[in-house]
Amino acid sequence: MLAAVLTPFVLALAAPAVRRWAGPAAGWLLAAGPAALTLYFATLLGPVAAGEALSFSTPWVPGSGVMLSFYIDGLSLLFALLICGIGSFIVAYAAAYLHGHADLGRFLLFILLFMGSMLGLVLADNVITLFVFWELTSITSFLLIGFNHREARSRRAAVQALVVTGGGGLALLAGLLLMAQVGGSLELSVLLTQGELLRAHPAYAAMLTLVLLGAFTKSAQLPFHFWLPNAMEAPTPVSAYLHSATMVKAGVYLLARMNPGLGGTEAWQTTLVIFGGLTFLVGAVLALRNTDLKLMLAQTTVASLGLLVLLIGVGTELALQGAMAYLLAHALFKGALFMVAGSIDHGSGTRELTALGGLRRAMPLTFAAGALAAVSMAGLPPLFGFIAKEFVYKGTLDGPAALAVTACAVIGNALMFAVACLVGFKPFLGARTATPHAPHEGGPGLWLGPLVLATLGLLTGLLFNATERLLIAPAVAAVAGAPVPVDLYLWGGFKAPLWLSLATVALGALLLWRARPLQAALARRLGRLWGPDQGYDQFLDGLMGFARAVSARVQTGSLRRYLLLGFAVLALALVSPLLRHGLGAASFAMPMGDLYVWGVALLTVAGGLAIAFTQSRLVAILAMGVLGLAVAFVFLMFGAPDLVFTQLMVETLSVVILALIIARVPVSENDTRGWGRAVGDATLAIVIGASITLILLAVTGVPLDMSLSEYFAAKSYTEAYGRNIVNVILVDFRALDTFGEIAVVLIAAVAVLGLLGPRAEDKAAPESSS
């Protein structure tokens, strides 16, 4: 199973090379991988339908209980089949659609990476595994939407999708961890059996909110629906795959997956039904408003996702059957329709509905696929879309507020009916219109995928018994958490669902008849309305403005102010422990007898004061020398010959470099501070100096732990054969530190060389002599 998840990743890495090698055949070659995976998953259909669940687990971060674990039940198998099956056609389609594109290799890389991530997401059992793959799908989606990265619109759409879905992903992580904490396991298969515990816990509201945020952003539910239409900037294969059939369904998948654990409460039901229903209606209306084929399809996807969320929210057995049936039907017809739209665009050069017509002669195969898929989307028998719609109505009639929810479903479905007919038939029927290209049918890559998917929509409908047994029933069982009797049918007699279907078709036909003026009116009314899309921009602008305001305040660009702030904090940090703990056992004993030490101490301070207060450059340099020498004397008096040597040599070299520099900077270094500022600075300086002295006294007042020094003294000769303990510490015991330090010295020299030499910004810099 791990191999199945890894296959797309391996293929992805090979994709650019395969593309260079195999040229036009690359698409077919690479499509063979997911096709083989589809077959593999198909062989699991029987066992899973018989109630088996397969799992695989290997430690990932064992310390935190994170396992790389996967789990296959009816729900994940349905998704895995859709991902791999549609994926193989998409790969072939993409290779044909982007034929000759310079970056096709990169595109195939991304799309296969996405396929692996999505597969990992639906098969994941561990919540951390789930989250990682969840975010991977967001990232690959970002890369794919931004594929035409030279277009500002693509970049904006890509970033927007990443911000929305990535942000939701973070909420999801928090929610999942909360669930894991309460449920006592990171494995979903365990967690979901703890439904009672989770739902009764006080943190249930928080879990629910966080998980729903993740699902709603991913599946483009109101009010986060705006990113999905914008994501249509991506090449059409991406829209067909990620933004209709698979990735956006991840949110729906999550809700379905969580249903046994979090579902069934009133909060769950109300939230999902309201948000799903609103999304369904808004999406369907917006779909009719647009005239760009892809945008219309994108908005119907938003609507369909809303319907799925609504059905999962209703949560009765019939509603879940409706959800799973609609999920399958939608993936098949929407994937096909997107590819059809892409083929129309590819063949004729436009996606504008008003500019298209009469393509049936030029693109017969595409027409067949489009018509078949549209009939399924419209919900007409004998296609699977019809069965799905029957069960959608059975589900809404079964749940709470049945009247309102069913009315919502009928209106939404009628709108979808109209859009389906517009997208699937309008471009092909009627009189030929002038298009940018002479319309023509593309290669097999372009028509095979949509045709197969649309035909599958027909076959699953005709062979509804097999569909029911192998796909829908196991999936519903997984969502419900227990086996549920499912009985799909094409003909259910003259009962309520059928009447509702007829009403839907009638209403849809009416809308279709008045489509043109309706679209114009909608475009007029909704054109100027504020929407979350603008809200997103305003939010980002606000964030940027806030960041600018903060950095303008914090980063004034005044070095003096930075230093002042730093030293003020330092003073606070030094003074507060003194005030809290006092001086402890500090001793102030200063034997007057040792005049030598007193002399050196006075010399040191005198040197420092001279540096600070002299107005003469020469005196300052001399005073620095005095200070350095005096410090060397301190080292000498207290038994540190190595330090004396080092200090003296550094002293000499410092003066050499100082002399070289000062000769080249002919600016007075006089203190330009006014009296007030100088006094303020001096006060701060004295506070810092005095507290350092006091703290140092407090430190020397307590006994020193000499164990390390004694260890070095004892081992220096016996183990490292050196009598100079300081040197042995440097080159042997702590050689790694020394190694780092000489690296710093070298880096300083390199940096200096970088600063020297002529620069463009210098005024008439002469070439150096070397």
């Binding site: 101490a601 540190a640 300086a685 020193l704 300083a748 600063l755």
Partner: protein, 127 residues
Amino acid sequence: MEPLIAIVVGALFAISVFLLLSGSLIRLVMGLFVLSNATHLLIFVAGRLTRENPPLIAEGMKVAEAGIANPLPQALILTAIVISFSLFAFVLVLTYRAHRSLHTVDTEAMRVAEPAPRAARLRGRDV
């Protein structure tokens, strides 16, 4: 003698802070020089002071005698001296370079990377 040297350390720290705040790059470099010397002495005092017994193992002995100076802070200070010397040289050259490019050593006048607040706000608007 720790208290006496501790007072010297405090005095040197105060002087270096005073110099660092002055706003002239040359005085800032001098402040850095005083600061590093103060820091070396700080470490030295914190490791306790022992008169005139360097941390060497006498010829013929295998282990150091009792009463030698603490070798650990000396090793720390030795590398610190070399490092702060590198830093000192680097900052000096930086001062020189800044003066050559910007013709000033006044830190408040150096506004290439971070323009004055008002200008920053005006620039930020058209970004």
